[in-house]
């Protein structure tokens, strides 16, 4: 029996106070056009709200966007909040206005991948696909 795989579920969220959501909405639409189900939380969310939503919705991946410069605090906070809620296995991807020197720091803090304004959409979607599939495989093994 061929089992048709159900669409990947991802959450796109904007933590913190910045209201520039063009990037987040662009990625949400691009992911939808690639067959993803995208739960969009809107702007100005706390890390706890994003993590709690991701857990409830049982998403494969969390994608965060930040253009305010607060990514070093906010992105790792989401990773920690997820962990506290039993979601350490959910990969977190981040994007936005992020200086090169911060990327390494964020990866060390548990972020799965970081994208900057120059990253092509295809690369971002590929990262979401890979991370989602890895999450599903990990889930199936448990």
């Amino acid at each position: 029996m061929t089992t048709q795989q159900t669409p990947y579920r991802v959450l796109i969220g904007k933590p913190g106070l910045d209201g520039h959501d063009r990037g987040a909405k662009f990625i949400a639409r691009a992911l939808r056009d690639e067959g993803f189900e995208v739960i969009y939380t809107g702007i100005r969310r706390t890390a706890a709200e994003i993590a709690a939503t991701a857990i409830q919705e049982d998403v494969d991946v969390v994608g965060l966007s930040s253009l305010s410069g607060a990514h070093l605090r906010l992105f790792p906070e989401v990773v920690r909040e997820l962990k506290d809620r039993g979601g350490a296995d959910i990969p977190v991807l981040g994007g936005g206005v992020i200086p090169d020197e911060d990327i390494e720091l964020l990866l060390k803090e548990g972020l799965n991948a970081i994208f900057t304004s120059g990253t092509p959409a295809d690369t971002i979607i590929q990262s979401f696909t890979t991370a989602s599939q890895q999450h599903r495989d990990h889930d199936a093994q448990k």
Binding site: T3, D33, E34, F36, V38, G42, E49, A52, T53
Partner: protein, 307 residues
Amino acid sequence: MTPKSNALLAGLKNHDPRAIGRAISAVENNTAEAAALLSALDRDLIDNVLVLGITGPPGAGKSTLTSSLIRRLREQKKRVGIIAVDPSSPISGGAILGDRIRMMEHALDPDVVVRSMATRGRLGGLCASAGAAVRIMAASGCEVILIETVGVGQSEMDIVRLADITLMVLAPGFGDDIQAMKAGLLEVADFLVVNKSDMAGAEALCMDMEQIFSAKEEESEIKRVLQTVATENMGISTLLDSVDRFAHYITANGIKEKRRDKALDAETIDWVIEMLRPKFIQTMTECSEKSDPRVRAQELINTFKLQ
């Protein structure tokens, strides 16, 4: 019972949000533990839950009204489940599920359980998953479950039939949209909520709807056309009180049970089709390819010895 379904079941009883999310995914993805899990759910909790369908055209204020209803239900200390349905793209199969944006004030409340679901382009298929999601939420202690969906397509109407009581949300200024909805509306909706009732045209819309609904009101003597301003929390208590009275009415005279039985029968058929679909698709190539689809379908059915 597999160890995995046992763990999920224990999680549901403990109100663990991760377990609720995973249990619904298990059903949506038709995994091995889904059946064991669903048969072990607490029947009493499922029987006693109140399921409200909230439907209406895009922009009428469904999500905002839902959020106001959640707020009021939480004041009453009730644990609430929400199933928010949005359409899938017919081209990519993807979806943007944005109903949560208006419900984020409840994001950190452990007694507000939200699940966004996409229609996934399957007539009936979503209905099946949503039905199971209702039972999973009920088994994890939700006392009221709200199903929110755009009520303009057949699949959405099917989902609404999962509800014990259906609220149709309208707003002034929709004009012809409302005219077009009247026929289906009469059959499906128990309540008509005129939202944004502080806007011009609300009174006229109410009068229009009251005329249509007057026959229904006589049945239970409960007012069925109500006005709200969801953004201001106006009219929400009155609406919920009326819904409560109506819930008692339909429970007492067996209407709720009849509606449930009908919905469960319909869901069973949906599951049959969902479960057979992949097998049918696989076997289709074995049937004569060039025959008329109607003829080919019969061949396919004969192959499966269904008749």
